[in-house]
């Protein structure tokens, strides 16, 4: 099964660039990515740019509306994701718990819909 791990955190929470903790934190991501790749679980994953760069689009009655900002103004924002191929939810949750931001923010695990 494919699971998407959505990484949520407040941007000012957790290790910040320029601090001592930032290096080990980034290393944590590289190690995690390497681990899931080695295990053959990694299908994809990206980090996203700051929520200040977000633009939200909607179309109503044929008219496109563009607004500055994310879909929802919440404290914790989507900061990145992984798509992992796991045998079941337990395995996906075990990997999600190893994502460095699980220790600061939260990781939502959602199965990917497969159409066949």
């Amino acid at each position: 099964m494919q699971f998407m791990c959505l990484i949520y955190n407040a941007e000012d929470n957790g290790p910040q660039p320029g601090t001592e903790e930032f290096g080990p934190y980034m290393q944590g991501y590289m190690d995690f990515t390497e681990e899931v790749r080695e295990a053959g679980k990694l299908l994809g994953g990206e980090a996203l740019q700051s929520v200040s760069t977000a633009t939200t689009v909607s179309v109503r009655g044929g008219k496109t509306e563009v607004v500055d900002g994310p879909f929802a103004e919440t404290k914790e924002q989507l900061g990145g994701f992984y798509i992992l191929d796991c045998k079941d939810l337990d395995e996906a949750l075990a990997y999600a718990a190893k994502i460095p931001d699980a220790a600061y923010g939260r990781v939502e695990v959602r199965p990917v819909m497969i159409f066949d």
Partner: protein
């Protein structure tokens, strides 16, 4: 074929006793929790028709499983979803069809997988409880709704959501992975204990809620039989049995609350007590003692005391110390303060209570005030006691609790 006897009562007994085993075997073979349960329901409907006409089969469990598999195949064919998963399942079911009269068919027991699945942490706590009662206990949705004072439709929706999530979220029907097993077993124990405490809170006449106590004990027995080496599973069963041994004496003839010191010990259930004591001893043989085992030990000291005065209070105080050291919850100090008031003095009890008073949460906790009131009253400090009784009465949720405290309050000399 057996003569057509009481198909209805045979089916009721099977649901009562074997539902969990049959359902677990079905889920294990067809994988899909909802489909397994729906098909088993269909099979039960057929059983009622066929058995009352033709008589019961020699192996009713196997009959139900075989027919349920056939019903599952019908359901897949009827549904318009033709994805790969269901076509594979349909193929499997076609290849594995058997004769419902097959007496030799053995039914593998997958109840442990079923318990862990129903108590999966990906489900909301209340759904875990409901699903466990439904799947393992064979309770109907209506019975579960009554037990939790919910509307049947709301409970049905909850169960449907939970089963759908198990399937769609990728919860596998299996035992937990080795690194998760300890935590996941704790979750199962807490679900069973929650069912038990819910039953203990039943007020007079709430039959279905009272039954929850017996359901929890039954689930506790199933769990100890499936996990024979798990000390805390034994501790939990012991705790429930010992507490239940006093069930009949906890209320008076008109439903009023009867405190431990006034209970008629001759009516305590000795079979429950001896089973509970034996289980407690096994549960505590392995260190470190768990929370259920220690609570069972405290309950066992009470159960074995010939009278209230003959209670080994120092032993109870010591057990609370061990429990508090491992699980520092201020609520434990309330019961310990009461024990200490008999082991030492009411003043000592009050001092222990004062040590947790700063914990803001206790200000709105009824037993804290009830305990304090009792200790103050025994010291002759009646004005202060009255104040605490009033606080406790205001916080009481059950009417018989409040009226018990009212009686105590009116016995004080306030001028």
């Amino acid at each position: 074929m057996l003569p057509p006897v009481h198909a209805q009562s045979l089916v009721a007994r099977l649901i009562r006793e074997d539902w969990g085993r049959i359902l677990s075997s079905l889920v294990s073979s067809i994988g899909d929790f909802s489909l397994a349960e729906d098909s088993l329901q269909d099979a039960v409907v057929s059983a009622l028709e066929v058995w009352s006409k033709d008589g019961a089969p020699r192996n009713p469990d196997a009959w139900l499983i075989t027919v349920a598999r056939r019903k599952a195949l019908d359901r897949i064919r009827r549904s318009q979803v033709a994805d790969r998963k269901s076509s594979e399942l349909a193929l499997w079911l076609e290849q594995h069809h058997s004769d419902p009269e097959d007496r030799e068919m053995s039914i593998p027991d997958h109840r442990l997988e079923l318990i862990f699945t129903c108590c999966h942490p990906a489900l909301e706590e209340k759904s875990r409880v409901a699903l466990t009662l439904r799947a393992l206990g064979g309770l109907s949705t209506e019975e579960i709704a009554n037990a939790f004072l919910d509307k049947p439709a709301a409970m049905a929706a909850r169960l449907t959501r939970a089963k759908h999530k198990l399937g769609a979220a990728g919860v596998a029907f299996k035992l937990p992975d080795p690194q998760d097993i300890a935590e996941r077993t704790d979750t199962v124990l807490s679900v069973i204990y929650l069912i038990f405490t819910e039953g203990c809170h039943a007020t007079n006449g709430e039959m279905m809620r009272e039954n929850l106590v017996q359901e929890a004990i039954r689930l506790g027995r199933i769990l100890t039989s499936l996990l024979p080496d798990h000390a805390e599973a034994k501790g939990l069963l012991a705790l429930m049995l010992l507490s239940d041994s006093r069930r009949l004496t906890r209320r008076g003839d008109s439903g009023e609350f009867v405190p431990l010191e006034a209970q008629n010990r001759a009516r305590w259930d000795q079979a429950r007590i001896s089973e509970g004591v034996a289980l407690t001893e096994t549960a505590l043989r392995r260190a470190p003692a768990g929370r259920y085992g220690l609570q069972a030990a405290i309950s066992a000291v009470h159960a074995q005391a010939k009278s209230f005065d003959a209670t080994d209070w120092p032993q109870i105080v010591a057990l609370y110390d061990v429990l508090y050291a491992r699980f520092p919850n201020p609520i434990l100090r309330i019961n310990q303060a009461l024990a200490l008031s008999y082991a030492d003095s009411p003043e000592a009890g009050l001092r222990l209570l004062a040590s947790v008073e700063d914990d803001g949460k206790l200000a709105s906790y009824q037993p804290f005030h009830a305990c304090r009131a009792d200790l103050l009253a025994r010291l002759g400090r009646h004005l202060e006691a009255a104040e605490s009784y009033r606080a406790a009465i205001a916080l009481s949720r059950a009417p018989e609790e409040a009226s018990f405290l009212e009686t105590r309050l009116s016995a004080l000399r306030l001028n």
